[in-house]
Symmetry: C4
């Protein structure tokens, strides 16, 4: 079949017949429109023409192969068409937001001058596109839980011990048996390509260089295979599973990552429906206003994402996920399809921590999804503290991790004192890879390692095993938080 | 009798003989001056001339029929007079405040872009007249209770449960046996016409469309009949009773609404005298200053409203209400004049909740009148929490509702977890109808429904019956409130 | 002896021979220099010339008669001298601060538009001279206690009762047996003439008009006789005693006021040395900087007031007071010189309240001198609360009052609920008399009366006797205070 | 040997051969490069040329004699070279920061107008060089502990007692048996020359004049001998020991100060590794940016100080300190080399206070190094409060001091009420000597003495022995702190 001309593609610009061009190939997505997790509308915007620039940053390269039947892959466009698209892309006038980002990129300070995770976030907030920043930084409703996650750490103070030998000090630990140079892992987070063209691979390389472990999201913007291909020998990867509502499709995903060599499955249970991330939802409208100075969007709330419960970038990603998981059904099913260790990601109260232990999983990640799901979910540090006080036996049954709001090495140490084995960090790594690629990721680990070792030494311990609950105290006053009121 | 000329009306411009023209009819209000709840002074300002523009937004259409003897209805003006008044109205120079409102109206965002009740309030604050905003938004003294009502919710955090099937989720409930699509009703609030020419009917239509229930205030700016006329078949209305100090007049009012088909009586007990709403009282002075740039008002405090206890818009509305109600006398009286269910609106402590249960009423609305009455009255959410802890048996004796400070679906869910059957919302509906009419009201319900369903699913429940006190915790630290310090 | 010429007075301009002219009379103060409570330096600034303008606002008219031996009253100046002084005074260029005050005076709003004590303070802060505002508003150190006095009230919330007859509501009470129209008295405060030429008499007239009681300070800027002369028949006055270190002089003062008809003695015990009121101390320097744009003062800390413990306006006033009072010695002494009721002003903890009861005094005023003495003294409302909880029997032994930080009628009611018989108010009355004279004082009482009656009615009580501790609750969260953080 | 010419020195400008000129003498530091606590890089910047200006403010005069072998002292430069260096120094263009400081120096207010420690800090912040301010004011991480140290005092309120004789009031005490005019000492702090050319001697003279005691840091910028030489007869000095990791070198230091007449050894145990003082670390980069308007530094984190744990000014000072001290080894060793009283500086929890008492030391200084070491270490005032509540017996075993965050006389009194014998103050004295030399130090003591005496009198005590825990109360609400949120 001869390559397609633009003129041939152009008429297929409606829901009756909808073709799009992606990376110089033509696809018939007419039937797929209704299945698209992000809704038909966003595809129809590009019907009959090139959609590459919108498609690329939020889809892994194997998405078309996985989700669109071969018969709908209509083949390449001809060279004139490719040339025209390239020229158009070249000549396209940059948006105000793109120009702002370009200018900010040039003014990035050298990595060596960033001394803290806050320094890194400050740079990232300047160099990220409006869309990416909105997606990465947004949290649900009034962002109370997002801010409380961080503020919770500031209620815990130390009882430092003196006169203990600490010249030698080792911050390493193991997670599910795998060595980690510091008690920190990269928590699963979607769509790294939104912030940097190399996407999740920046995280993989940074983790490999520094000896920490990356948890890869089901919603990564690269294929699981590409990410695995970027590892060092012996570098473990974990997999964050968003379970599809269709068990067969879900099983296929688990078997794929097990085959690729992923070392554990982190079943995500706190994001069965999307949280209300207003900043993310409003982002396209605000961008429009920025670019044109006028307001044109006229869609209804329903139009944003389909059924009133799915909207925003996040909504699209999890539209097909299983909203009816149960302890009785889902854990046995998962055990039946994989021998990998299983961790439940998204425990938010003691009762469910107990149920997880009873279900025999290997670990739990106390998490409220970084404040992106239910606003007023308790901060993980508070839940951890409750478990330490009321059910300390749980720490013997499984490994306990927390994520959300960690901003300093002292935060990590506080969690470890209360019994956490390791701490997950998400946004800071996304910010780092967006602003500096893999070296940014390495820098985050360097900063944390220095802060962790300093805190350990000043606490009088030389190994993470020596950290204990007697070393922290939850104070009964309101400290001047490092997160401003 | 021949229609009146302006020249005939003009001389009746004093307290000796005071005539006014309203909607092209002449009324002799000389004797009525002393009975007018808003005081004589405000009428005398229009003595001998047309008063329609001042009269309309704060009086229901049947007010003259109800309160002024037929013999004082002097008949219509002639066509020259009507023409002159219309021309004068037409040529009247708009005030600065009116011009500001007109400009703001044109810049309203499309409803679809409002994602929260806060978004709606932000629009309303721009498009409302100074007078209306002052009346709607004002609260008493330093507005501590007004702000604390909202902040109280932010001290309650969730214990979300995972691994529970929630794909099907139903937020509906019943109130006094009447179905409500979400556990929210429109709390009684006066003077909707101040914000929008269609007034309370906007609320009625919005409630009808979305399947929730409206409580109509005794002080509505439309007649109870007009409001009832705007309902769908089967759409219930509740009635908020301000009891007149004269039992006979009060009985007449109750019998009227029962006859019209209202379904329950909500006896208001927390507003026997007006609260000190300084913003409302100061509004005319500030408006004057805005318009003229000078200060002309020279009245004394007493002049504002008569006896030192009645002033401001609110004062006028309740000037004749009963300040000597008692449990022994008032409830039996009310039972004797109606068979409708009775709810006490304005319970503010456990002791009175108990007395209400003992008095055998059908429900209580824990409320401090939106912070408009006694400043430093406890937030309803705190009173509800106390009842849950000290007298949980009360929830079996009667239905319990709260209002005041509700701003998010999570607030609604928190109240339901503690035992509330439903939650009343007032100001947000007034803001919505003012800014967008009935569609604004619909939008508020859409937003709340989405937030409520999302919160229920993320809590792991699929029916309001499954919400319980074990799902919320009152934290012992000060959270970053969604209402700023 | 012939009247003095300016030329004759001028050479007496040093500590060797120091004469000053006051109200056209010459005084030899050479020997008095060392006794002057405000220090010699301030007098020497005017040596050999007219001192009237500096002398007047801070000394009562009988000060020269009382404190300077007759032989040092050298007689009048001649008419040329009087003319020259008057001309100089006339031609004197007004200072920037005086011009600012004059402009502000013209822009005062009409009294009827002031609705709260905060409104009054806002006006006063504009129309007061820098010196007067510094003296009135200053508090010690970092003003923590000053602000906490007010914030303490905001931790107490009400349990309002409904369905109680309140159409009749009486806010009056008695203090030491004397009728007061509201449970509020004017707490003693010095130097009213600094703010208004009529000084303390404004307070007397305002109290007389409204039926409340004034406590007159030992350090009033008018004579005790002048103030008594301004009362209505039957209007009682109380006397605030600063006890002189010389018992004989102190006795003379007590006997004078008893003779004049004052009704009780309020012994001040919390101001034996001056607090560190930096704003007051810095005031002259700042004024200098304002006027000249340069800094000229070069004195040392000691020079400010003598011995390192006495400085600022306050220091001068109490320089000779008794720093060695004891329960054993001072109360019996006072009982021996007067039959008037005795109240201890300045109780700051339970232990001393108990000792006062044991000493048999008639009342105690829980007070930390408006935050002007020891910073971090507990707020009176907290001390009152402690007594209510730990020693409720004390309320049967003597009358208990509090002052400090009262800004609303609800504050008054809260104190009464906990057992206070009445509440003292100081600064607001000073501000009111400064800005509007006696009518300002009346306005303050009108405002408080309205707020008190409204609060009583909304609480469900019709007499102050019905207020009780069950009607207030000390909350365990941090409310949005009406005093900003 | 003939004096050196600049031409002869210049070629030695690399790590192969590195000579520097200091105060007109040439030193061969090639071998010393690797031993330099501040790293080789900073020396190499001046290799082959004059380094005096960088060297002087941070090294005591005897540093070269102590740390560089005599054979490396190569002798003087010739007069042409000295002349050239002097001319270059003269002609050197002043930096923007130097010009700013010069201007600020001219605008200092007279000392007599500074009424509080906060006033002094405000002046110092203007007149200090960027480098000095960064070093003095910086604290670790987010400076939570730095701010909490001060805020902790604001949670303690007084129970003032009245009717007690206080005309005579003596604030003096003894510390380790040595008389102190007020219960305050100068806590050890390094590098006074950074702020003022006379350095630590300003503190010595100020302490001598006012009768308080100075603790001299191991890292003083003058020699221990020079400082001792500035004392009055009978003026005691204490010595703050940073123990070298080499016991022999450490012993030498202890024996030196004992020989010089220092009266006690304060072993510093909370600074075995440097805290993360970002402001200090970033200071040179920020200065560069200020001076050039461009960013040139390209070093990595490691380059800042060597091994990732040593960096900033602080890092260099303690690079060789003992990180393996223990109770078992270190205290007996110290007892074996000196008969002087021993105090442990840096106790941060009850457990270590107990161990110190068991180890038989003479005193403990509860301190977290002014918030410069482990962020979230508890404020000393809180630790003191815990000891008072849980182990009051310790106050009988040894003398207890605290430092960190003291800003007012009331802070001192609060600590004494809880059992502290005296309170150390660091930064305020550094600020005072920087801004005004020795008279600034005197002023600080004058201010504190006045505040302490005033507080004692208003509390009803006339001797520090009469202060007790019943006079303070830790409140359960959040006061308006004198340190802003």
């Amino acid at each position: 079949m001869a390559p397609w001309t633009l003129e041939q593609v152009a008429p297929h610009n409606s829901s009756q017949s909808c073709w799009v061009i992606i990376r110089n190939n033509v696809y018939d997505v007419t039937e797929f429109l209704q299945e698209h997790p992000g809704g038909a509308q966003i595809i129809l915007k590009y019907a009959g023409r090139d959609a590459t620039r919108a498609y690329e940053p939020i889809h892994p390269p194997d998405a078309l192969d996985k989700h669109l039947h071969k018969s709908k892959h209509l083949g390449p466009i001809d060279s004139d068409a490719a040339y025209a698209i390239a020229r158009e892309s070249e000549n396209r006038q940059k948006t105000k937001d793109e120009l702002r980002v370009e200018a900010a990129q040039k003014q990035r300070p050298p990595l060596s001058r960033l001394l803290s995770l806050a320094d890194m976030e400050a740079v990232a907030r300047r160099v990220l596109s409006h869309k990416a920043l909105s997606y990465y930084s947004s949290a649900s409703d009034d962002q109370i839980t997002y801010f409380e996650n961080a503020r919770a750490f500031s209620r815990f103070f130390f009882h430092p011990r003196i006169m203990r030998p600490v010249s030698k000090c080792d911050p390493s630990t193991t997670i599910l048996g795998y060595k980690s140079s510091i008690p920190v892992f990269i928590s699963g987070a979607a769509l790294a390509k939104l912030g940097h063209p190399d996407g999740e691979v920046n995280l993989t390389k940074g983790a490999g260089t520094t000896g920490i472990i990356q948890m890869v999201s089901s919603n990564a913007s690269l294929s699981y295979e590409e990410i695995m291909a970027a590892t060092n020998p012996q570098q473990p990867l974990f997999f964050q599973l968003y379970k599809h509502s269709d068990d067969a499709i879900a099983e296929q995903r688990v078997r794929e990552v097990e085959r690729l060599g992923y070392k554990s499955i982190w079943l995500t249970v706190d994001a069965i429906v999307p949280g209300n991330r207003e900043k993310d939802i409003k982002s396209p409208w605000i961008l429009e206003d920025i670019e044109r100075g006028t307001t044109v969007y006229e869609g209804s709330l329903e139009a944003v994402g389909g059924d009133g419960n799915v909207f925003g970038t996040a909504g699209a990603l999890i539209a097909n996920d299983d909203r009816d998981m149960t302890w009785e059904k889902t854990i046995p099913w998962l055990r039946s399809v994989t021998k990998l260790p299983i961790v439940i990601k998204g425990i938010q109260c003691i009762e469910d921590a107990v149920l997880a232990a009873e279900a025999g999983v290997d670990g739990i990640l106390i998490s409220n999804h970084g404040g992106r799901q239910l606003d007023f979910s308790l901060p993980p540090m508070e839940v951890l503290y409750k478990i330490r006080q009321q059910r300390p036996d749980l720490f013997d049954s499984l490994e306990v991790y927390i994520d959300g709001g960690v901003g300093r090495g002292t935060d990590v140490i506080k969690a470890l004192c209360l019994g956490a084995r390791a701490v997950g960090i998400g946004r800071p790594f996304l910010y780092a890879q967006s602003a500096y690629g893999a070296p940014g990721v390495v820098r985050i680990v360097e900063i944390l390692q220095r802060e962790i070792v300093t805190a350990m030494r000043l606490l009088g311990v030389k190994s993470v095993k020596d950290l204990g609950p007697e070393m922290v105290e939850r104070v009964d006053w309101l400290p001047r938080s490092h997160v401003k009121l």
